[in-house]
């Protein structure tokens, strides 16, 4: 198992390199000119050029890519001027020169600093760490509730498969899924928050408990409600798949009760695809829902990324994307390892 984990960890590097390349070329191909966004209302060409120079976006692509790789590896950025020209490749160079193999330059770390937001000058690692808390406060309960409720309801619906109840629930799920999340948010905020005063309309504080018990319940409830319909449909199909297998027939033939068959045999086997599905959804909790966060004034990562996109704040966008890619890979590995715990027949090769 250890060898498997180590191998998988090694495989992450080329995957991450692919992600980095993709992000880099996507932003350069379709992203707006950040210098224009930062420049203000009245600026001339020279000032725009100065900003582009300071941001490093005037450099050839391979050099920019080198900067980007250096920033990911170290969390630091160095301005162009902080790289001193060197005729021979410096063996200890860890900066863009080493990555890009372009004009050889040596990093002068004394002038390097943490990667910062172009718009606010805030350190990007600080942005990520300070925004992750509010995001997780909402999204972790969402995932847990959605999974537990989804499994319980799905097993119940599978148990009464083919009945009117089953059909009605599936119809409601289809209907619920066809309405945009935005509509749920707007309507729920208006009625639950404002009209009936059951929840606050919006807000957030520094206190985790106040947030968790006062501000987060409505967004959590909404996200669970919206996520439940597709989860229920999907998990129901997993259970139905298992119900039709021979081992279930055998269990019934042995005289086991339907409840025991469902809970002991079907549930356990259906957990593999359910776990896969949770694994796919898991990275999403680390970026949150930008809709929920903007509507309920939750200072989370989703909202931050949205603001960053609107302002072409590439350091924040790039960091968030790389961070999400890394989390996705780690979670995928964790889910693969978890298969073993759920199903002892799984072996690592």
């Amino acid at each position: 198992m250890l060898a498997y984990i180590v191998r998988r960890l090694w495989q992450m590097f080329p995957t991450l390199a692919g992600v980095v390349l993709l992000i880099f070329f996507l932003f350069n191909a379709v992203g707006g000119d950040p210098a224009l966004v930062l420049a203000g209302k009245i600026t001339n060409k020279e000032q725009i050029e100065n900003i582009r120079k300071q941001l490093g976006v005037d450099q050839p692509y391979h050099v920019q890519l080198g900067y980007f790789a250096f920033e990911i590896a170290t969390g630091f950025t160095c301005t162009y001027k902080s790289f001193t020209e060197s005729k021979s490749p410096a063996p200890d160079a860890k900066g863009p020169a080493a990555d890009a193999k372009a004009p050889e330059k040596k990093a002068d770390n004394s002038t390097c600093q943490a990667v910062r937001s172009w718009a606010t000058n805030e350190e990007v690692p600080k942005i990520l760490t300070s925004r992750i808390g509010p995001t997780l406060t909402v999204m972790v309960p969402v995932l847990i509730l959605e999974t537990i409720l989804g499994v319980i309801l799905a097993i119940g619906v599978a148990y009464v498969r083919g009945t009117l109840t089953d059909r009605m629930i599936m119809m409601i799920c289809t209907f619920a899924m066809s309405i945009s999340f935005l509509v749920y948010i707007i309507v729920a905020q208006y009625y639950f928050g404002f009209k009936w005063g059951m929840f606050p309309v919006q807000g957030w504080t520094d206190s985790f408990w106040k947030n968790f018990t006062y501000y987060a319940p409505l967004p959590i409830m909404l996200a669970v409600f919206v996520g439940l319909a597709p989860a229920l449909r999907l998990y129901r199909s997993f259970f139905l798949d298992e119900i039709n297998h021979d081992y279930v027939r055998t269990a019934r033939a042995k005289g086991l009760g339907e409840k025991t068959v469902m809970m002991k045999h079907v549930l356990r086997n259906a957990m593999i695809p359910i776990l896969t599905n949770v694994g796919i959804a898991l990275p999403g909790i680390f970026v949150g829902s930008f809709l929920l966060e903007t509507f309920f004034s939750i200072p989370g990562l989703g909202r931050e990324i949205l603001v960053a996109v609107n302002r072409s704040d590439f350091p924040v966008i790039k960091a968030a994307t790389v961070y999400l890619a890394m989390i996705t890979m780690i979670i995928n590995l964790a889910v693969d390892v978890a298969y073993k715990a759920v199903d002892p027949r799984v072996t690592f090769k």
Binding site: D33, L38, N44, Q47, T294
Partner: protein
């Protein structure tokens, strides 16, 4: 040992305990009575380094933490400059090329560890340093243009910094002379009578060099100024808390220019006259980008006032132009403000189909302007919260001419539009209902708009619909904000939407949008007309006078004749206030009002609890 208690002793004990309780509870009581004001910004702020930001919400905070040498009288309309940190408004010397700023004594920066427990007085050197910061390339100041090609010797310093990578803050500059501890002389390269307005901009403020140097890695988060408030708490893009600066000297609202016929002025005078401001101890600001939660937070009493009521809720707030009964019952009042701004649509003057100065191209643009139904724009899209612009210059701005009427050029008139097109050869040759260019080539125009704004999409649809009625085909293209900026800057568009908010209250700030040398800067229409440029150059040499107003009128006429833009509207914003907010009036140039407000805490408490 026996301990006996008689009645008198008992009373003394009770009295003693009560006194102790009252004494101990005093600070708690006074803390509870702190005047707190809560409201929302429409957009998230970037930070509070005056030289590094330009978004209006960051600047709104800056104008409360720092102080510009000049500011505006709070009640005077049209706006009027008054001294803030200087003793008097500098008189333009040498034909408007020299300004001498004499700073008041006894103005102190807010306490900060950087001052090592000493009170730090504001001196002329601080302002000199601050002006230099605008030109330091490392700061990439969005307001660098204020001092670019303006102050003698400063351009050379900036050029040198670009070469060496380090801006020199110490070498004397001819245009910035500190004559004594409290006197700064600024020499300009050429006459500029609007320079005084620059000295009243909320970004043109004095900063302490030692504070900037100490917090150089995060000047956005460590503002140290001389203004009425200090930054107490900042959860970036989520919550901004300002508290009264205890070292602030206080200011008194002038009532000299109050209009006795204006009920808002009367209320402001009644609430604030003679009082040392600011009165509010703590201001909590929450950036909320979405309109519904911002509106609901106000209606739900979570906020004390709502600036710029979202247009989608205007029918609920002001049905048929009157305050909704539910709000009137709660004694909500509404302040209506015609902002110093205007919206417009650009025609790219370099475009081979639309642009150019030949009669046929002028006719095409003017016909399109006449075809556009501005009435529908105002009634449906703007929900009657706008007035039609007669020129680029909004009401209230120096140089605005209320008699200037451009309805002949701008009012919806399909018959005239069609006649103009027919006359210059834009006719439908193949009978498909769409006009071709005079040379017979198909003519399909494109209109770019910001994809992030709902009203922009509606405006684009109105354009397409209006032009269809005169037989012109228009495609609408939604682009992201950053791309839109770029496309407009480099002229990669045919038609595009735009808007301009006043930086300072002079027509020049709006008319520079069409000045030839400003192409690839603010002249997004790429309009280059020698006659217009000559008039603009002339206006720069003139102080505010009937002669200058005549020059502005001629420039406006040229704009209407050549039609490099379609003039849109001046929007009207509604600000809602609960009755416990006292003395409210919105200034057209200054962004925030809370340093001129009071809060009736008892009424606030009663309503919110």
């Amino acid at each position: 040992m026996r301990f006996s208690v008689n009645g008198k002793t008992c009373l003394r004990w009770v009295a003693g305990l009560l006194s102790a309780f009252v004494f101990l509870s005093l600070p708690i009581a006074s803390a509870a009575e702190k005047k707190v004001l809560r409201y929302a910004f429409r957009t998230a702020e970037d930070g509070f380094d005056p030289m590094k930001v330009y978004d209006r919400y960051s600047v709104g905070i800056i104008e409360n933490i720092f102080e510009a040498p000049l500011t505006y009288d709070w009640l005077a309309r049209p706006v009027k400059l008054i001294p803030q940190t200087v003793e008097a408004i500098p008189v333009p010397e040498d034909n408007g090329t020299r300004y001498t700023l004499r700073f008041k004594r006894g103005i102190y920066f807010a306490d900060d560890p950087v001052f090592n427990g000493q009170r730090r007085e504001l001196v002329a050197k601080d302002m000199e340093y601050s002006i230099r910061r605008f030109r330091d390339p490392a700061n990439r100041s969005p307001y660098e243009w204020l001092f670019e090609n303006k102050v003698l010797g400063l351009d050379e310093l900036a050029e040198k910094a670009k070469k060496t990578g380090k801006f020199d803050y110490d070498t004397p500059v001819e245009g910035l002379k500190v004559l004594d501890k409290y006197t700064l002389q600024i020499k300009l390269k050429s006459p500029d009578y609007n320079f005084l307005y620059f000295l009243a901009m909320p970004n043109v403020v004095a900063v302490a060099r030692e504070a900037i140097e100490k917090y150089k890695d995060d000047t956005m988060g460590h503002p140290v100024g001389t203004g009425p408030y200090m930054l107490k708490e900042w959860t970036r893009r989520s919550k901004i808390v300002l508290e009264k600066n205890p070292g602030y000297r206080g200011h008194v609202m002038s009532t000299e220019f109050a209009d006795p016929n204006d009920p808002w002025d009367r209320e402001a005078v009644k609430a604030l006259a003679g009082k040392t401001l600011p009165l509010i101890d703590r201001v909590e600001i929450y950036p909320i980008e979405q309109e519904q939660p911002r509106y609901l937070a106000y209606i739900n009493l979570e906020h004390d006032f709502l600036e710029e009521t979202p247009f989608e809720f205007i029918e609920q707030v002001l049905p048929n132009g009157k305050l909704a009964p539910s709000l009137a019952k709660r004694n909500v009042s509404v302040f209506r403000e015609e902002q110093m701004e205007f919206t417009y649509d650009l025609f790219n003057m370099d475009d081979p189909v639309l642009g150019g100065y030949s009669p046929d191209k002028i006719a095409l643009r003017r016909a399109m302007v006449l075809a556009h139904d501005r009435g529908q724009e105002i009634d449906i899209i703007r929900r009657r919260q706008a007035i039609p612009a007669q020129s680029p210059v909004p009401p209230g701005v120096v140089g605005y001419d209320p008699k200037f009427n451009s309805s002949f050029y701008l009012d919806h008139n399909l018959a005239r539009a069609k006649a103009l097109l027919d006359m210059y050869g834009y006719v439908d040759r193949d009978g498909d209902g769409v006009r071709e260019a005079p040379d017979g080539k198909p003519m399909v125009l494109t209109y770019k708009y910001n994809s992030g704004a709902q009203d922009q999409r509606q405006l684009a649809e109105l354009w397409a619909k209006s032009l269809t009625e005169v037989g012109i085909k228009l495609d609408t293209v939604a682009v992201q904000f950053a791309d839109m900026l770029k496309d407009k800057r480099v002229g990669k568009y045919q038609m595009a939407s735009s808007a301009w908010i006043a930086d300072y209250p002079d027509a020049q700030n709006f008319l520079q949008l069409y000045y030839g040398p400003n192409v690839e800067q603010s002249n997004e229409a790429r309009f280059k007309l020698a006659d217009y440029d000559k008039l603009y150059d002339k206006s720069l040499t003139l102080p505010d006078s009937p002669e200058r107003n005549q020059v502005y009128r001629e420039m406006n006429r040229l704009l209407l004749s050549y039609a490099p833009v379609r003039l849109g509207v001046h929007r009207i914003f509604s600000h809602l206030l609960y009755p416990w907010v006292k003395g409210y009036k919105k200034h057209p140039i200054l962004f925030t009002s809370f340093r001129f407000l009071d809060v009736d805490t008892a009424a606030q408490k009663a309503a919110t609890q």
